[in-house]
Subunit: 227 residues, 6 copies
């Protein structure tokens, strides 16, 4: 139930029985050996899995996020904080005036957190709107899976190494987390992070990844109830 497979008449019908919309806010940035679109692909996979069970519509993803610190890694396409906030606001306002009322924003990238400030501003302005925010890697359920398997979640490590984000062979073993001397500029960040992974195992068993995905999907399904 992605917009790309629908026309406006389909959405018109949908709105007669539902007013929920899932919006994926991602990023295009270095993820070590993983896809540059990792932060889009994970929440989008969750969105589509949830949509299959609930038939809730999935808006086209925002493919760009706020990643100024990774700009020295080729392929990182970062937008200013203000650009992202305006983009999210415009999309939500468009859908709101057509009758959508319950928005689940599935965020894929830590640098996008500022969006929440704007969402609160919007919530004060649009009567009857319901907004939910899910940043999957910060969820309690993710922490549980990680702890159960004695894995430490971190940027571009096993945590994000799903089959659908893996675009190259992954290293074996673990990486020592580098020392972070405060808030770094892009050049420093590339020097410090090297291949771009932030430390820990590069991959986990397929079963762990399944468990992780299933746990997040449960969270998403719960949030879609807007209880």
């Amino acid at each position: 139930m992605r917009f790309e497979d629908l026309n406006w008449l389909d959405v018109d019908s949908y709105l007669q029985q539902d007013d929920r919309l899932i919006l994926v806010v991602g990023a295009c940035e270095q993820h070590a050996y993983l896809s540059l679109l990792t932060d889009v692909k994970i929440p989008l996979a969750l969105a589509e899995a949830a949509s299959q069970k609930t038939h809730v519509l999935v808006a086209p993803p925002i493919n760009f996020g706020v990643s100024p610190y990774f700009l020295a890694y080729p392929g990182t396409l970062s937008v200013r904080v203000t650009t992202l906030l305006d983009l999210v606001e415009d999309i939500i306002r468009s859908a709101y005036q057509q009758g959508f009322r319950k928005f689940l924003i599935l965020n894929g990238h830590g640098g996008n957190d500022a969006v929440r400030g704007r969402l609160y501003e919007i919530a004060n302005q649009l009567t009857g709107i319901r907004l939910a925010w899910y940043a999957w890697w910060t969820a309690h359920s993710v922490e549980q899976v990680a702890q159960k398997h004695c894995l430490k979640p971190s940027h571009a490590n096993w945590l994000e190494a799903f089959p659908f984000t893996t675009v190259a062979e992954l290293p074996e073993g673990e990486k020592n987390p580098p020392f972070i001397p405060g808030l770094m500029d892009a050049q420093q960040a590339r020097q410090v992070y090297g291949d771009g992974q932030f430390g820990g195992a590069y991959q986990a068993d397929e079963a762990v990844m399944h468990e992780l995905f299933a746990a997040c999907l449960q969270d998403v399904l719960k949030l879609l109830e807007f209880a």
Copy 2:
């Protein structure tokens, strides 16, 4: 050669031998019986076809454009002019500082034309940048194909009815173009345009669509030479 299938090391390698990038600027808006993402799908298909031949990289698409006049059609997710301009600028600046120098912007939507003004501003600021703009439906080659087959190109008619944009059965026959009383607001536009098509045949022979696509692809390949 889409970013989603690559990691940053791949882009790093690419930049040692090429500095071109294709950026698709689309829209999410009513296209009558066609996909809401029609204006993304067409330029993206061209980008990917061109990339297969030239190995030029294709950045993730901008899935949203400036469509305020279609906001009364459910599923149209429009952004403000300023939001789109900032978004395009941020993406180009990100890539430029990593070494990309030649940008082909494949625009899929007439409402996005304002982007060109910002591109000229950027051209004055970034030394050595080369920018090319292609709005496929305005191309001379498209006009030629249309005239050859006595078809009139218009929004959401046969012109955009490729197999990959068709998400529902299309009507037979032609539609009379409605009378347009100046610059309309969204409510008026929906009243006037009805199903959203702007007039003319709803579909054309598969062979015509092939010819059309091939003609546009030639244009894109030519532009990628940045001669």
Copy 3:
């Protein structure tokens, strides 16, 4: 019926019987041998001619437009896209709250086309507003006059060489249109365009210019009916 010849009491009276306003959006940019204000003077002349026949008020002109590509020509005073959009919006909102409802925007410059995006946004926000846009050189009637006289319309050629825009002797003969290698920055544009004319005859017979003006004036008068 220009604002400069009126005081507020005059406008107050006017609003009791009419709610139309003409707004000229121009540019201050190189026009080869023609006046730097050519893009103001032509729509303003049309506005004043139409006002004489209809008594519709003419707001003071916006003397600056979006011309980043001509900035290497001395005398080109260009504003950012966003500046122009805000300026037009502020003026329209001011007049709207005083009772003006029907706005005919006479645009004199291609680079200003982005204004239309903002006009659609405004149309969605201000109840009962009517907006019409006329970019004279794109009109069908202009094409007809040009074809009739076997003249090709282009920037700063005969098309804009009215008596009131001519500030220097004009060359005889025609200019070969230069080859345009994509979207150029200001330095390139000056190199490519030389004297600033885009190709074609530098001047046309006085009778042609009269015919051209009359044709455009008819268009303007028609649009002022807001039918």
Copy 4:
């Protein structure tokens, strides 16, 4: 020496011997019985008189200023503070990059004073720029003329009643200045100010106006020396 009478070649020649530019920042707002463009006309008249003596170029005037308090008077077309600041900045930056270095801004309207803050920001950014600001009615020389003739200068009274701003018969006698209860909104302002004059004589002898104009012109000529 107004831009409208010149082409870019003329400005090119000018810049080989001079780098000064006069920019008029005006307003379109109620001036009681006087022209809505009074705040453009006065500084423009000064600019042109100064130009005749010095051959310094005069840029096209900014016809709109910040007049939110007069929006309840029909014909007042006010722009936001930010719009005006951006507009002035864009114009100055355009001219600066072509070689203009000394800018005399002739302001015609008190509400535009915020422009000065932006000018200081620009002065810190553009090497070698010289900026002068003249708000004629605040000049010491104006105060002297007024005191000499026992006239009190105020908005839309004799002070601005030049022959070229007078578009209707002016009342005889004086008006009592109204009591101003703080910072008023537009509706209150119209109630309080009535015809829009702020108090004092509606007109002065022609000789006084000549003396006033001559005094201001002297100031302008002095400032154009950029000593």
Copy 5:
């Protein structure tokens, strides 16, 4: 009655009997030998003295103003015009929606004058709001005190040398006002102004300062009546 000594329940109670709020808009900039926060301290002292007599609430001060011309003096922390305008607007809108209606803005710094333009815009938008502006050093009462004691008020001279703004020993005697060659950038300003005082006596008798403060306080108390 400063916000820092209150919790929200206190403000809740206050709003049941009063709807006035004092907002101090200051600056952090060179004041020669006086405190960098002089422009906050003076209006804040007035606010607190007035609050003691009237129990009107005093919002936390805005500690930064528009001082681009002093940026070459270490310790000057200047904000852009637009930043300050947005800041003041956000604060007023926050308080307005909680029931505050009468706002007295005590400005401490000349460079902040642009705020008034935004206040008029706000006044047109928020029904029933009352806004008063007091820039103490421009008050008639200050002029009277200065004239009475034959002192000339100027930036960072005796005028601002209250005990609570004095953070170092002050020079004896007077300073000759420097010659000001138009609108200067920050480097020029530091060269021209030297220690940062603009001319005149560095200090006045304690009794004069008491008289000055008392005169301003009377003005503030008068304005708080919002008559």
Copy 6:
């Protein structure tokens, strides 16, 4: 070593031997029974304690933060995300051009986290700048103190109940954390949070608060080493 106790000559001297600056970013918002300025007072107290030991300068605090969700609590003065980002940027740029190079931003409020995105943008633009960010309540050391005393840290509970933030008698006992149904608007937030505390004990022993403050101070001192 607060700016308010210094003049520009003091800062000039300081910069000859040090280039560090502490900037407090706070908020003015409901904190249940605690001061509305709690989020300014805590980081400012840490800044001043650290300054006493290190003589590092403390800039004037930013007294307002991003608190849209608390706007229904009287006394909450919230600014837009963009306003805060611009404000922080302007202050840092001002100090940077005077020679400051190492900035420790002491944040007092969770809603201000978006500032970090802008800081990364700044870090990419200003050569040699060092930026550190400390949000005290998120520190590992705070977690340790809390766990040691079996206290749960939360908004406006014991965690923030220092003697200098306490402006009213505090309730005994604990509050049950309310259920939070997603991202709430201001009206909902007030209904859900009641007195404004987020759950847990209202106060802790004075010794705990000392321990907490000391732990944070150690963090700050460590960060000031910019190692």
